[in-house]
Symmetry: D2
């Protein structure tokens, strides 16, 4: 299979189950909504050593925000609902409540699972917090030094998927990186997914396990172009560098849509040779995304 002359390998991405909360942050301007969103989703690339996986889904339209202000949808993901609730409390409490002019709304009011995030954060008001109804949503109002902070009582979460992914293999580093940037730009237009790594891109794809007992994951040596002389790298000579785009999302459909959109965008960039994907013989998880099915 080919797109724009780029080979799409007949392989699949392997993802794993994760709990995903979706939060809508609004602020006085887009710029300030983004500052809060970036702080709240930072240090959130992989649950291997980060306290959560997190990222910016997309800008909200003004018609989607209860207060008519600019907004950003973010996702915070963790293993199990208990961990996720803690992540929500600490990330919203420390990074959004503290951010200038923000408000926080439930990004999945229709989800079955609902955390009392706002209802717990409200005690920061030290007795002066209030409960109110705002556009048919139950919110808490916490007085702060710059006015009032509004946070919805409930934040919803769903059984989502982490680890959707594809590899962009290119003639050289710059082509692979430009293509990864184009892919992440495209995924930012889609509903329901995040790309939790820095700028949406993973430079250091990994394999499960290592030769060291203390290390559960290590560099994916088969795909390391500087290991050609050692005979370890199995890449054909026309591939000089690869980047991976990792996608978490609220559903299988959302991840498929973003994989499709991201791969197509990557294939518009000159120098891209091949699209592949990371899988681990089922060691990582049960969610398989066949590239040919998604793109067919």
């Amino acid at each position: 299979m080919e797109i724009n002359g780029v080979e799409i390998e007949d392989t699949f991405a392997e993802g794993f189950p994760i709990k995903v909360a979706r939060v809508l942050i609004t602020a006085i301007t887009e710029r300030w909504a983004m500052e809060a969103a970036r702080e709240a989703t930072g240090f959130g690339t992989s649950v291997i050593m980060c306290p959560a996986e997190a990222g910016i889904e997309r800008m909200a339209l003004r018609s989607e925000t209860p207060d008519g202000r600019p907004g950003v949808f973010i996702q915070i993901c963790n293993m199990g609902y208990k961990n996720l609730e803690n992540s929500l409390l600490s990330r919203i409490g420390q990074c959004v409540l503290t951010a200038p002019t923000t408000a926080v709304f439930n990004g999945i009011p229709e989800a079955e699972k609902q955390f009392d995030t706002g209802a717990k954060l409200k005690f920061f008001g030290d007795g002066f917090q209030k409960e109110a109804s705002y556009c048919d949503r139950g919110v808490c109002i916490i007085p702060v030094m710059s006015g009032d902070f509004v946070v919805e009582e409930k934040i919803g979460a769903v059984d989502g998927i982490a680890g959707g992914n594809f590899f962009i293999m290119a003639e050289n580093q710059a082509s692979a990186l430009m293509a990864a940037e184009a892919a992440v730009d495209a995924i930012r237009e889609e509903e329901g997914t995040i790309t939790p790594f820095p700028g949406g891109v993973v430079a250091s794809g990994s394999k499960v396990g290592s030769r060291y007992k203390f290390l559960k994951a290590s560099t994916n040596v088969r795909f390391c172009p500087t290991l050609r002389d050692e005979g370890v790298c199995t890449l054909p000579p026309e591939i000089g560098a690869s980047y991976e785009v990792v996608i978490n999302g609220v559903s299988r459909e959302a991840i498929e849509r973003s994989m499709r959109s991201g791969i197509k965008a990557a294939c518009t960039v000159p120098g891209v040779v091949k699209i592949s994907a990371a899988n681990f013989e089922g060691k990582l998880g049960p969610h398989l995304f066949g590239l040919h099915e998604i793109l067919g």
Copy 2:
């Protein structure tokens, strides 16, 4: 005391000791150095509920980076060197090693305390890592999918200070926020400090303690303008909103310099009425920064 007609209150900021590591991240372009820096310093506003305090200090000049590429100095701060070492390993390992085209260098080679951060991260190379000397610095080279990742063996840290701060009190929210943005812009030019909150600004200044046993800090009710009717807010009527700028740094001198620079910048913004500072009767820490001394 007045600057540009803005009253500088005769009070002081109260800071506390913290361990501060300084890291230099370089990348192919400024944009990608910033992406890695932002991810690595996110979810890092306050050790109350964040796993570390972290922020971007300033852009590096090309002449300051060992590889002649664009660079960003970041600081990662934590209570005690053991916590700080863990923060370095996880934040650099998960947010910079994974970021496209980055390299990591020691931001304080002259410090007494040096962590083996690079020397520990290198095992990700699964036996294919190498040690080398690069511009007189000992580095580890880890093969990744896009080439080689270079990380300096040692990352230095010092006894620093957290919680340097000042309040910007203004006619209304927008004036206070513009002034805070101007202050943070100015502090970004200074050496040795970070402003760890979102966009450098704190909206929700707090007091130590609360009426709830489970909550160690709560909103600083005296400065909440929406609590005027309750008689709790003690602000004069001409103050409509306040923001706080919190500053961590490698030394007392660095924090003084940034407080001075930030306060002066805030006082260029119309509508700013008063500069004050947060202190807690010594409950927080021993480092006192008198506004009049700093600005005198």
Copy 3:
């Protein structure tokens, strides 16, 4: 009439006829599409002394770009079709053809008026240009040092309107500016309009004429808060500063929609006191936009 407690004055904006071309610029990434768009629309605030009025309308969705790459819609406006054709040739030829990785497509293929912009620019190819059909559009392909530059043969234009506007009057400069930024953010979501001034905002609203024979427009003294002592400023004391948002667009409906959306956004910002609009007793033009009708 009031929105969020902000008074909407019962007045109207006065616009004038202008010719509007709409161009779709695509590029390898959003960042590079924006660089080209900004250069091509710069020095384009007012036909009084700029060679054209120009601005960024909105980001294109990937599904809207013929090449599936990121895109930006811009508008270039001028008095008369002949001037407009020259503006298109020079701005696209000098600022988009020269920009890395860009392509140029017709932003209004359905318009009656169509310029041969691409068909004229193609001669830069010095005989090596080619004509082709691309997604059912006639394009010219010009070889350049980085590959091929694709430009659609035709660029469409319509009889549009310039000078749609509203004033944001606020307690102070920072509130007025934050509100203007929020308004411009909101207008960027709308179809068919641009805000040609720097960052979308006008600081120096003008009246027609002056006491100097050589000057056709001068500062709108009635609204200059620093002329209160001279008795020239007629603003009530609660208004400390005003900004104007000027809107050009392809149709009356588009301007009405953006005025509505921008005014509503401005009214979300604390410290905004009143919304008004600029009119000149019919000296400027025939297009009147009543605030109460638009918002009613």
Copy 4:
């Protein structure tokens, strides 16, 4: 000659004389200073069909701005002082006076040539303008709707040079573009130069003349990789794409410094094969910049 394995061709760039004005724009925040600077320098890539050449030189340090606010140095360049004066009046009058919170200062007070730019713009104040001394500089104060606009009476200009340049020739488009971006980032750190093209990069390098009588410049066919089959492109097969960085500046020394800094930065990017430069057998101008001399 080689840098990082990149061949530096033994050739030279050919520049031509131009008049250069240097302007310092300050504003309430960096963001607003940049908005004004971008608008004022837009549509300013080449005097062939733009009304001027213009660009952003660098951010100013706070210690360099008379009002202690954030600032940006821009340059506006034109053929002859009369054209340049008109460019200053229209670009500052339409794009900076109109921009929120800006002030304008002389960027070369020490130059012999000084225009009365501020002294002419002041009449916009319609009789309410004032003259004043501000930090030992003569300024005009013009009342506007958001407060007062301050503009220095004099703006200085010098005999400068346009057309300093180098080519970045790389394996493919993405490598060449990344390297161009890295070069422009580096040049932004240097004093006294601008890169007037979009994002600092030229995609469509040209030769003097064409086969069409009406066209004075056309695509540089020898360097067009898609003309390989026609036998017109003389590039070796390993070069897949090139970009040019064009540099204007206040002096020969400034351009040499920026060429050196930009070329070194370009050579840090993988995939770059060769650095060359554009010259036209003296048809363009008398200023020659030998790559080997500059880098030697």
